[in-house]
Symmetry: C2
Subunit: 214 residues, 2 copies
């Protein structure tokens, strides 16, 4: 990690408890299903049966949704469940973001086949998701707390490659009453591929506990 990235982590670190180990394994499964591909031979039926068995076992542990939502949002569990940075969400790459001393946030992520849109490239909607999340984290890091996205504009300047490190950077640019503006970029090999501008409306989300960016 570069020195300027050695700021405060704004996304939850992976824990070593069982859930997060299981989520990490689930990410391996998601990617491997795309790398193995269209080969109905070779034990795939058995794989489906094994995954269904795991799902059934986990579903037996489920708590009612209302209770689960209350548990999720209690305390300081920032960013633990979301589809961008959440170590407990197998959909998340995950993107880990750090607050820098200049007020911006930055993270680096390499995306594989699950995030593909055009051939060999990151899906435009995935780029949008990374930037929306990073912009929300930038508000938080800059002291604006949790704000809701009101408007987000993305400019796709260059294709975003799979399998290469992507630098995601975002910063809060201005605050005017409840209106917060921010900007961010996704870069590969030092070139900006996607830029974003966003308008947020700052307010606390009315739930118990502390809410998170995004």
């Amino acid at each position: 990690m570069e020195p300027e990235l050695a700021g405060r982590a704004l996304t939850a670190a992976p824990g070593d408890d069982g859930v997060e180990a299981a989520v990490a394994a689930a990410r391996r499964v998601i990617a491997a299903l795309l790398h193995a591909g269209d080969r109905p031979e070779a034990g795939i039926a058995e794989v489906a049966d094994m995954l269904d068995a795991v799902a059934s076992q986990l579903e037996g542990l489920a708590v009612p949704v209302r209770q689960r939502l209350a548990d999720m949002w209690r305390g300081e569990r920032i960013g633990r469940y979301d589809p961008v940075a959440g170590p407990q969400n197998a959909i998340a790459p995950p993107l880990r973001l750090y607050g820098r001393s200049d007020g911006s946030v930055e993270g680096t992520v390499t995306l594989g086949l699950p995030y593909q849109g055009p051939p060999g490239l990151v899906h435009g909607g995935i780029s949008a998701m990374l930037l929306d999340h990073a912009l929300g984290a930038a508000n938080y890091w800059a002291g604006s707390g949790t704000a809701m996205t009101a408007e987000l504009t993305l400019r796709y300047l260059r294709p975003v490659p799979l399998f290469e490190p992507l630098a995601v950077v975002a910063r809060r640019q201005s605050v005017d009453g409840r209106k917060i503006r921010g900007a961010g970029t996704i870069s590969a090999s030092g070139q900006v591929c996607v830029s974003a501008e966003a308008l947020f409306i700052g307010k606390e989300i009315p739930v118990p506990g502390r809410a998170v960016p995004g």
Copy 2:
């Protein structure tokens, strides 16, 4: 399905081969990991071991990435692998889109905990992803083939609820040389929650085979 939705499917139908059954089971696992949550007791360690075993088995079937990418984009396999509509991508909800006779495209999707941003609500980046993809499909349905997103603007008007049917609608609005403009919405209970406008640049992506929207 409502009559006006009974148009041509623009996203790949789930197949009944082993891969897609395994992907469907993986989606159950992804959701169940979030519903079970922070309970390191109760067999979670065993679940991690089982998932790692499945991942290792699948990774043994992987073909080299270059070959896999060539296979994926050969022939008419529209939308089979992407993170929005792809039946072979466990990240995809999946959103299934249909072309309507008025030139628009529509799909309905209900999103659960893996797609959560704020408490009980869909992540803003997920809404962006759904709309980016639907707008690309609308270009395709309207006859513009595959176009790359150049600019995408999202307006978040109302929170997007989890666990409720969401209607995703998009249409191509104009074509001016290679510039294609489109617009779309996500609605819940008949009210527009997110609207989008996009500018696309129409061109074929230079790969063998036929490319897909998104």
